[in-house]
Amino acid sequence: MTQTTPAEVFDETALVERAKSGDTGAFTELVSRYERKIYRLAKHITQNDEDAEDVLQEAFMKAYSHLDGFQLQSKFYTWLVRIAVNEALMKLRKRKSSKEVSLDEPTDTGEEQVVREIAVWEDDPEKTYSRDELRGILDSAVESLKPAFRTVFVLRDVEELSTEETAEALNISIPAVKSRLLRARLQLREKLSRFFKRKGDDVFAYM
């Protein structure tokens, strides 16, 4: 779950209330607060700049249009993420309308969960690379995941939604979130080992 302090919750509730009552400045403030995260989410899911731009715009336009229906007992960000995810998935479907990419859970061949790389990493692997290099490494690793795994990972571990919120946003069961998340994390770990393993350590097959 996203870590939010009580003061931030109060502040945000007041802001959302103002936006709901027609204060356009308050809504603009919400946009500035979340535009970067929504844009990142859109890019991660669609893997396409043009689509991500559309998703960003559509998500905020829809949020604005439907603000009346938003209930204050929920978190505004979670609600906004759900809208953005729906938009992003629609884009992804349109682009991948052929059979080349399925959003359904890939058939479990048993291979994805196999751990092959057993190499110790540097203590702070992120410090071995520049910010831009690191961003490139992390983004391309996420990009290589199948959409069903990628989406769950992005919501749970990048946007820090809870398991329940992720299940609800994607309309999948909690066990499905858990199993996809495990596979996504293990696959990413595997891919990143190449970059982050401690120099001089051997890599050997395992399990």
Partner: protein, 115 residues
């Protein structure tokens, strides 16, 4: 008395262990396994670091031209809505046509994001 976990069983529970959402008994079993099995220790440690690097990555700024387009589109919509509200009240079909389904009853009808 405590039954030992296999590496496969450890991996199956790895997420709950990392997310600290397993019961005390299970956590103790996992802890015992991870301290005794060097390979699982590495898997656990590197998965932990995987999460740490992703969580530590700040989102990039939205490019300026895109930001401007978004704000312009919103301002236009806000102005149009204001105009509507100022106009004499008449029944609007707007609320009954929320086909986007962006209320809290998500997922929207007719849309199943990921099976």
């Amino acid at each position: 008395m405590t039954s030992l976990l296999t590496c496969k069983e450890f991996l199956a529970d790895l997420n709950d262990y990392l997310d600290e959402c397993c019961g005390t008994e299970v956590r103790l079993k996992l802890e015992k396994h991870v301290t005794e099995c060097p390979n699982c220790w590495v898997v656990c440690d590197t998965t932990k670091k995987t999460l740490k690097v992703y969580k530590g990555m700040e989102p990039q700024e939205v490019p300026e031209p895109l930001k401007s387009r978004l704000m312009a589109a919103l301002e236009q919509k806000m102005a149009a809505d204001k105009g509507k509200k100022q106009a004499p009240k008449q029944k609007s079909g707007d609320s009954s046509q929320e086909s986007g389904g962006c209320g809290q009853r998500v997922p929207p009808a007719g849309h199943s994001p990921l099976k």
